[in-house]
Amino acid sequence: MRRFALIALPYAWLLALFLVPFGIVLKISLSDIALAIPPYTPTLDLSEGWAGFKDFLAALDFENFTFLTTDDLYWKAYLSSLQIAALATFITLIVGYPIAYGMANAPDHWRPTLMMLVILPFWTSFLIRVYSWMGILSTEGYLNQLLLWAGLISEPLVILNTPTAVYIGIVYTYLPFMILPIYSTLERMDGSLLEAAEDLGCSRLTAFWLVTVPLSKNGIVAGCFLVFIPTIGEFVIPSLLGGSRTLMIGKVLWEEFFNNRDWPVASAVAVVLLLILIIPIILFQRNEQKSREAEG
């Protein structure tokens, strides 16, 4: 009896507030837009029972999904989201790995402090961390002031409201997600492995390539997915730093919903976004499972 209640309560909550809403999104994505409140006409009318369901099947059209393919705004947004996410993930890896590596090589008594310094930004407001770059990157911002003062440039650089600013924003905010999994694999690595490699004739650099990097592979893969997956649907960073020229699907969905009030199309955008995300999510879970099994 107690077991039943233990399962039923969270189960019911998730059904009502996670699965049902998602069903509604699916349903609305198959509906037509209307100038009403709510601004769509439901194709599926459950109050008419079986007849209503037959009407629904007859009238079932993927109009909104076809629309997504005809207007090149959408597929360009999907593509550009994927591209930005992939490149940003790569840059984050390049920036994050040396930091994780440095942490793993740091003296034992430093490590808890370094750990805390990596985690601290994570507890700080995401919005504020993105916002802090607005003042740095703007035309009259601190970065341009510094460069002009140093005489490195004569004209201020335009960085804010370009894709470059979006990359900087993503790398900055998602860096801890890259550092932590890599650090945890490096930290567990047996230091005598490197000594063994050097003993067998490796230089320090080849030992790093042949031993350290392969052994941290699980951390690298986990870190990359942890950056890549949330970046695809990112909204705040492209809106604040990317300006109107940066196209990302999270932003398109938001604008479709709030500015154009086209709920059916916004829902269709959401459904397709989720379908795109399923692949990396499954790959990520498989990697997690594999590394769990490897640890025994």
Partner: protein, 272 residues
């Protein structure tokens, strides 16, 4: 064995400079006299003064705290239950769907979570306000609580519970007297995580908030979309300060406790 090379030291210095300089600049310029944020015009705390008098911000802060406390508390209860189900309940019909629903919010883009919940609230005719934000935040943060608590439960030594049963406890007493006190640190960090996520959330709150209730991130958002403002700098400084004090205190306390535990264990090992 491990050596900190020049390369390591440089990458650590540059890395942490990258992580902390932007926030540092924000803090410094929150004390700027000038209205033009990028031009330094002398030290002043006047933006803190105007901030404290800004009632819209204060109201939003109160709403945010109410939402965060309520939603994280409910999420902790539900998330801990869900973790127990995941780790302990074994097989039951619909288990796969259950674990799927628990983990999905972790990877679900916030825009989709927000959109779907908004459509639900409209569909059932629930007026948007504090209640809807609480429901939304509870749903997505209980997943995080469940993950934190279930990873602690997985390493939990089951023989402790068996010992409690063996000594005469009912199953519920064994949970209340043995399991819960031992996993309490994980439950507390789950609560803190849920609380922070709720404080921090802009996207889901934007979808589910109504005109009657605005949270602080929504307020900040509508203000910074127009550009950098000294008032927001002051607000950010306060928020960063609170988080920093909280996290540093927490880590000092845990470090102290673990050092003491280590010392005691060493001392214990030396006696027969």
């Amino acid at each position: 064995m491990r050596r900190l090379t020049w390369f390591n030291a440089t990458s650590l210095t540059l890395g942490f400079a990258f992580l902390y300089l932007p926030m540092l600049i924000l803090i410094v310029y929150s004390f700027n006299e000038s209205k033009l944020v990028t031009v330094w015009a002398g030290f002043s705390t006047k933006w803190y003064g105007t901030l404290v008098q800004n009632e819209a911000f204060l109201d939003a802060a109160v709403v945010t705290l109410k939402v965060a406390v309520t939603s994280s508390t409910i999420a902790t209860v539900l998330g801990t239950m869900a973790a127990l189900v995941l780790v302990r309940a074994g097989r039951f019909p619909g288990r796969t769907l259950f674990s799927g629903m628990i983990y999905a919010p972790l990877v679900m883009p916030e825009v989709i979570t927000g959109l779907s919940l908004l459509l639900l609230f409209i569909g059932i005719g629930l007026d948007r306000g504090i209640l809807t934000i609480i429901l939304a935040h509870t749903t997505f943060s209980m997943a995080f609580v469940a993950v934190v608590v279930s990873s602690r439960l997985m390493s939990f030594d089951r023989s402790l519970e068996e010992a409690a049963l063996d000594l005469g406890c009912s199953a519920f007493d064994a949970f209340r007297l043995v399991t819960l006190p031992i996993i309490a640190p994980a439950v507390i960090s789950g609560w803190l995580l849920a609380f922070t996520l709720s404080l921090d959330d802009l996207v889901i709150a934007s979808f589910t908030a109504g005109p009657s209730a605005t949270t602080l991130p929504i307020k900040i958002w509508s203000s910074i979309r127009l550009g950098v403002s000294p008032e927001i700098n002051a607000l950010s400084t306060i928020m960063i300060g609170i988080v920093a004090v909280g996290v540093i205190t927490a880590s000092l306390v845990t470090k102290r406790a673990s050092l003491r535990q280590q010392a005691e264990e060493r001392a214990a090992a030396q006696q027969v």
